[in-house]
């Protein structure tokens, strides 16, 4: 008899526990819906606090994805000895194309380089005054993807520099290194900003919940008078916090999504000017879920801190 009763009683308790939680969850949402302006204001502040680091992170991710393979797509400029002549440059280019670590070789003769420089620099008359063409033949060597590692390109550079009639080899990765260093700094700025604004979300929601608790002080006193524990009295405020987080997080996603849509065309046009098919990538589904989870967690933390502290101090009088 007792064995039969225990599971059903346990099941009943569990059902009652979840029913109470569901009731509080819906009840806290209903209470917020009845104060739409105040609720939207709080959610709006949470949304702005979340949207800023989220948007910076979106930009950073896009810049990294646009420049991520630049390190690997570097050409080496091989400057030939001026005395070698154009025939030697062509021969060396053929020779280099046979190498396993070279994907392509383009020859820019001294005459082509001069013509290009004359057209683009605006120093045509000055160049005429020089008499001789000061520019050497240049081979633009593109390494294979397998040889595009820092070690691979360094080895290729060494091999090219050791070849006869090669005056110098240039592998200009410094500016990319600088760009990536700047992106690293920016990433840390995003993390710091995100951390600070995340703390801001905790404080904003905490303060809102604190005011809510003060407004409902009499209600909490009565609850405690009839035997409500601190945890029971705290529960609706925790759910309110979660709703604030979810609402603010959703609004932040919408804001960042709108910003991405607004920027997509100009970014695409800019990329086209550089001959790149790059397109601005928006936030993915997983990121959206993570943002909502993070927002709800931060808001829950804020409401927990406020509710725990202030409800403990309220006793029936």
């Amino acid at each position: 008899m007792t064995h039969q009763r225990l599971p059903s009683r346990f099941r009943g308790n569990v059902q009652a526990y979840f029913a109470r939680h569901a009731q509080t969850l819906v009840g806290s949402l209903g209470r917020m819906v009845h104060q739409p302006f105040a609720t939207l204001m709080t959610m709006g502040v949470v949304a702005v606090a979340l949207a800023l680091p989220l948007f910076l992170n979106l930009l950073l991710t896009n810049v990294r994805s646009a420049t991520g393979n630049w390190n690997e797509a570097f050409d080496l400029s091989v400057y030939m000895d001026k005395r070698a002549g154009a025939a030697r440059s062509t021969t060396l280019a053929k020779q280099l194309r046979q190498r396993g670590d070279v994907a392509a070789v383009r020859v820019i003769t001294a005459d082509q380089a001069l013509l290009e420089f004359r057209n683009e620099s605006g120093f045509g008359r000055a160049l005429d005054a020089l008499g001789d063409n000061p520019l050497p033949d240049t081979l633009i060597v593109t390494p294979t993807p397998a040889a595009s590692t820092p070690q691979g390109t360094a080895a290729l550079k060494g091999a090219l520099a050791a070849m006869p009639d090669v005056q110098s080899v240039q592998l200009d990765t410094e500016w990319v290194k600088r760009l990536h260093a700047m992106l690293d700094v920016l990433r840390r700025v995003v993390l710091l900003t995100g951390g600070l604004l995340g703390a801001g979300v905790v404080l904003i929601v905490g303060n809102t919940i604190r005011l809510d608790i003060l407004n409902r002080r009499a209600e909490i006193e009565v609850m405690k008078l009839v035997g409500a524990s601190d945890g029971f009295a705290r529960r609706p405020f925790l759910y309110s916090g979660i709703w604030y987080g979810l609402g603010g997080g959703s609004m932040a996603l919408i804001l960042v999504g709108l910003a991405a849509v607004i920027l997509a065309k100009p970014v695409e046009s800019l990329a086209k000017l550089y001959g790149s098919p790059f397109r601005l990538q928006g936030l993915g589904f997983t990121t959206g879920i993570l943002v909502l989870g993070l927002a709800a967690s931060l808001a829950w933390l804020g409401s927990w801190l406020a509710a725990t502290r202030h409800i403990r101090g309220i006793e029936p009088t």
Binding site: A218, V222, K224, L225, V226, G227, A228, S229, D230, F232, E315, P316, T317
Partner: protein, 173 residues
């Protein structure tokens, strides 16, 4: 059911609300706490509901010394108690008492702001609780209501029991 043993209560502002109060209320009794304002009626109810703790002396509820109840245990203790206070808490307290069927029901001036007819109805409700075995303790200064129900009367004055009525009460010295 309820036993106060030389209970003193002094509030932080220095006011001494109870000065050595002793009395006993048995299980199933209906008792009125009466006396002028500030006599200590509400303080006794607050001590029973663990809203306040005695400065000295001991309070026993169901043979349990309330000084042994830790703050964490107070919610559970109150769940077994029916509490009816004034104003907006009145109806809530009554409703909860109907649902929870507590063994002990305490009420502080439950008819204070009510018209005489409604006050009488509320008191009849308490009487009905008592008839089904609930111990009922009501703090009131409404002498007419007390006389109407003819129940035990514990009279307080200046923080002391001046008349403990019948049923095993012990007057304060």
């Amino acid at each position: 059911m309820i036993r106060f043993d030389q209970v003193h209560k002094r509030y932080p502002n220095g006011r001494e609300a109870l000065a050595g109060v002793s009395f006993k209320i048995d299980h199933g009794e209906l008792a009125f706490l009466t006396g002028h304002s500030g006599a200590g009626k509400s303080s006794i109810l607050k001590l029973i509901a663990l809203i306040e703790r005695p400065t000295r002396g001991q309070v026993f509820i169901n043979d349990q010394n309330t000084s042994g109840i830790r703050p964490r245990g107070i919610p559970q203790f109150r769940r077994d108690l029916g509490v009816v206070f004034q104003d907006h808490k009145l109806l809530l307290g009554i409703a909860r008492a109907v649902v929870a069927k507590p063994a002990l029901l305490i009420a502080d001036e439950p008819t204070g702001n009510l018209d005489p007819d409604l006050a009488l109805e509320i008191m009849k409700l308490f009487k009905r609780f008592n008839e089904v075995g609930v111990t009922v303790v009501i703090a009131t200064h409404d002498v007419h209501l007390i006389q109407h129900f003819g129940a035990r009367r514990i009279v307080l004055g200046e923080g002391r029991v001046t008349d403990a009525g019948q049923a095993g009460a012990v007057s304060s010295p």
